[in-house]
């Protein structure tokens, strides 16, 4: 078990909930869009944290931590979680990758699609709950799996 110590992860989840629950029973589409986007970024930052924490450790100075943290981009994350060697790390890792992939798509719609946002308040809360589940799964990974996943998300795939 490894608690995520970078505050941004939890605060993005709290921000997502606040956007949906903070106002009236009928939030605006913009509030729901931003909540979905916050949920995605909470999970993305959690995965970036995992890579840097797993490889160099949270207590490492920023000049060593930040380059690892930022070495994973959105497309890499989607592709690497789909790779067989990552999926073989176990169902918890597969679930984390599935949540991330689903949220990538939803974030894309929420941020870029100008058509009316076809997701209501309850459905958005369900998305936030799935993002929270990804964070819980990351924090519950056994140390060895956590480190292996960090390596596999960053390492250049081997060519056979």
């Amino acid at each position: 078990m490894s608690q995520i110590k970078h505050r941004i992860v939890r605060e993005l989840i709290q921000s997502a909930y606040a956007r949906v629950e903070g106002g009236s029973a009928r939030p605006t589409q913009t509030a729901l869009r931003r909540a979905v986007s916050d949920s995605y970024y909470a999970v993305f930052h959690a995965v970036c944290y995992l890579t840097a924490d797993g490889l160099v450790g949270w207590n490492t100075p920023w000049e060593s931590f930040e380059p690892i943290y930022r070495s994973l981009d959105h497309q890499d994350a989607k592709k690497r979680f789909a790779a067989p060697d990552v999926a073989a790390l176990g169902p918890e890792v597969r679930r984390i990758g599935e949540i991330l992939r689903d949220l990538i798509k939803e974030r894309h719609t929420a941020d870029y699609d100008p058509r009316p946002f076809a997701t209501n308040k309850a459905e958005t809360l369900a998305r936030i709950a799935q993002a929270q589940e990804a964070i819980d799964l990351i924090e519950a990974l056994p140390k060895t799996t956590y480190r292996k996943l960090a390596v596999l998300l960053i390492a250049k795939p081997r060519r056979s």
Partner: protein
């Protein structure tokens, strides 16, 4: 390559088992491509009006079991799942003045 109907046949029993207690009623499946052009299944899981669907663990497990079942059958397309709860108030529109979107 599985058909949409075959994926639906696989999905509904999994969803009924895991999401039945949350009020799952039925699902639909459409194949297509995601925002990156990757082929995928787009699945909607519908719940009875008034259900409480905010259960991250169950929702994640349902999609996960479906994905594992698809993978075991050699299917590489990812199942994107949207959980739909009809009967909820629609969110306020993003439009300032229009009663409905000018872009049908």
């Amino acid at each position: 390559m599985l058909t949409d109907a075959e994926v639906l046949k696989l999905a509904e029993p999994i969803f009924a088992t895991i999401l039945g207690p949350l009020g799952f009623s039925r699902a639909s499946v459409v194949s297509g491509a995601d925002q990156d052009g990757d082929k995928a299944f787009f699945i909607e899981a519908f719940f009875e009006p008034g259900s409480n669907i905010v259960n991250g663990k169950a929702l994640v497990e349902a999609r996960g079991q479906l994905h594992d079942a698809l993978t075991a059958l050699g299917e590489e397309r990812f199942p994107y799942v949207s959980y739909r709860l009809p009967g909820e108030p629609e969110p306020y529109s993003d439009d300032l003045d229009e009663p409905a979107s000018p872009h049908p």
